[in-house]
Symmetry: C2
Subunit: 440 residues, 2 copies
């Protein structure tokens, strides 16, 4: 065993930071046995020194400035748990990397925006920039992509990356709740923020997906290349219809290799009930990787929470204790070899579609809808039209009837054109609901 412990500085003592400091102390001997040297937190930085965090910080050096901690000769490596896509997190990480220190961060927002530049800085200084905790909490997906599947050609990666959205969709499905009530429940239980937009509009998922896509496909991480659509338009009627047709609705982040390049998208998705990812309920996260030539690999686990996130941070620190800084590139390959990815135009997306229309209940309506789809060469796998209360769609008024269509693979452009034509025909009321189907 090396005689010198690895001296760690931690910036940010929220729930994750506090859990991390405790865990490193609690597991000190086990970690030393597993990593070949002791790991000690020696210095910390947070906004308020007096706050009770349930930790004994007396033996740790206190910094009020994260940049000063990052540069301090007291520490061998720097853990950034401040959060936020800009400063002070960014400047602190830059300071650590520039002074030759490896960095561990859970900051998906920062990496999704500045990951490429930070990775290049780590590379230049021959140190590590690890971020297992930035995606999927305690699920070891970053390590799996960066190391476990290094010899495989990945075709697609998709996941439930936001526990808030999955919790809301689960409650809507299981308890026949509206989206608004599902959100209220999530807020009541602390799973959703008071301002839930970042989660429910899909931006949190998009940041995580951009990181996964980079690791899986060697693309330059770029959140702006991700198509994003949230779950606020999903109705209880969609979940009921999905259930009857053998599907569930999940907010997925999907990155897939297509003939036109890497497509990155976040949107509500219909997945077959027997797919591993369809079984994932509540705040749990999951990621499935499709690898050429073998069956998919799915990783499931807690996506958030102090202890789960701290577990992933610990894993990253352990790798630095074992291997030092420079041996694995942050995004799996040297930054010079990463490729630029453009935002895939969704009108060129191809796949099956779920379409829910509220049709006027009069002769010829079904024929009109069918004609418009046929004109765009869209084939239907199923069409369900139901009368009466048991149709499950509270919003249908008298004289209207819900029609659910499932298409075979077609292009989004064709679907949009067909629905525009149906709209002009005045045989439906309201806006059609369209949900993409993801094959599993």
């Amino acid at each position: 065993m090396r005689t010198q412990p690895l001296k760690v500085g931690v910036a940010g003592l929220g729930t994750v930071g506090a859990a991390l400091v405790s865990q490193i102390a609690d597991q000190r001997d086990a970690l030393a046995a597993r990593c070949g040297r002791h790991i000690d937190v020696v210095a910390v930085c947070a906004r308020s020194r007096g706050k009770d965090r349930g930790l004994d910080l007396k033996k740790l050096k206190w910094f009020s400035d994260p940049v000063a901690l990052a540069r301090s000769p007291d520490i061998d490596m720097f853990v950034e748990l401040i959060g936020g896509a800009g400063n002070p997190a960014k400047v602190a990480i830059e300071a650590a990397l520039s002074s030759g220190k490896s960095v561990v961060t859970a900051n998906k927002a920062l990496l999704a925006r500045h990951g490429l530049a930070l990775a290049a800085l780590a590379e230049k200084n021959k140190v590590a920039l690890n971020f297992e905790a930035a995606v999927g909490g305690a699920i070891p997906i970053v390590k799996t992509l960066r190391e476990g599947l290094a010899g495989n050609s990945i075709q697609r990666i998709y996941g439930i990356l936001n526990g808030t959205c999955n919790y809301i969709l689960t409650r809507m499905e299981q308890d026949k709740m509206s989206f608004a009530d599902g959100l209220k429940e999530a807020q009541r239980l602390g799973y959703a923020e008071a301002d839930p937009g970042f989660d429910i509009e899909g931006h949190d998922t998009a940041q995580k997906l951009a990181l996964l896509a980079s690791l899986a496909f060697g693309t330059r991480v770029d959140q702006s290349a991700v198509y994003v659509e949230g779950i606020s338009s999903i109705a209880a009627a969609d979940l009921t219809a999905a259930d009857e047709l053998g599907y569930r609705v999940k907010l997925l982040g999907v990155a897939v290799r297509t003939q036109k390049g890497i497509e990155q998208r976040v949107h509500p998705t219909m997945v077959r009930k027997d797919a591993a990812i369809a079984q994932v309920m509540g705040v749990t996260n999951a990621v499935t990787v499709d690898v050429a030539g073998i069956d998919p690999i799915t990783l499931v686990g807690p996506g958030a929470g102090g202890a789960a996130t701290a577990s992933a941070v610990m894993s990253d620190i352990g790798d630095i204790a074992r291997h030092g800084g420079a041996q694995t590139a942050p995004f799996g390959r040297p930054t010079g070899g990463l490729t630029t990815v453009r935002k895939a135009p969704m009108q060129r997306h191809e796949g099956g579609y779920y379409i829910r229309l509220v049709a006027r209940d009069k002769p010829g309506t079904a024929a009109t809808i069918a004609k418009r789809l046929a004109q765009q060469e869209i084939s239907l796998e199923s069409i369900v039209q139901r009368h009466g209360k048991d149709a499950g769609a509270a919003e249908t008024s008298s004289g209207s009837v819900p029609v659910i269509l499932i298409t075979y693979a077609t292009s989004e452009d064709a679907v949009r054109k067909a629905l525009a034509a149906v709209g002009r025909d005045r045989v439906i009321s309201g806006r059609p609901q369209v949900i993409r189907i993801e094959k599993n």
Copy 2:
């Protein structure tokens, strides 16, 4: 990038070896980008040189003796894909380790028997002994335990580690097949050997569990410390009853930290349908890890097959290319720090039990059974007694009725004593079926 490629020797060119040689060639540039140096297979060894494997072996040096390959200065590291718990695999690995070469192997049988001694030899020579492919095929469970969860206290690990058994149980459940018919189907599809005993009696699972337990709990790997019970006694009636009660039956390998030490066991297990592992069907494998303080982590994927196993071997080779040999101990900790584990006496096992009896259909039978259980202080969660054809148990003769009991947590000793007493009371016919319930 280091200028020297990593020169690999591969012993064994069956489906895994052949897939590996192809994959390393196909992914050469991607691997170099991901591992920091090129990886080349330069020498191979197999029994028959002339056999058509769909590979161009002309540029590779041929060895007919794996030990000679293992010792050869032509190679930097050695991949053992010969298989078998003894020689030549064992002596070849020893030769490679002794001559300072890191080894990658998929040989669970050898490691379950001689893993400790081989790990000590690797440690002495400061080289790596990696075995991701020995458990769970392409699922990165070894890396997850050794590195990803290095900072966590693991409470329990359990998994579906044998695709043959899971395939048979899936067919029995979904198609109401007998065990014999399920086995025949598995054999017809190539999922089961002509001599299926090693799989269906649980020995394959036991070998894999012994490796997982060592990685999770720091025990000295010891297959003989695993309690083993196979699936051949499971009847279609059990799967039907399980289904009605909200359970599925899976052959699980379970290693758990108890107050009496680490308990390692392989047996048919009732798991609640909503558990992640209960969703795993067919030949797919899965492992769940219970970590202190956070929700469980489950990894699902292909557990066998040439390409899936080769993928795991590639992952191990990639780590050696990146980090050299010595930085991670084979079982996660230095062998001197591993603890001896004794075989847990199953009569002291505690948990819930499923019991299926064929009771004589006469007054007082239920009261007699209930009394015997009460005498052992066993509480019942449910008791189901059904008359007539729809009971689903083909083996009940006229005058008999199936009785299904689900107990709350109790000891195995109590269950055995109660059932022995019921037997003496002559109120049942045949042998009681007993299946342990695993809490999820």
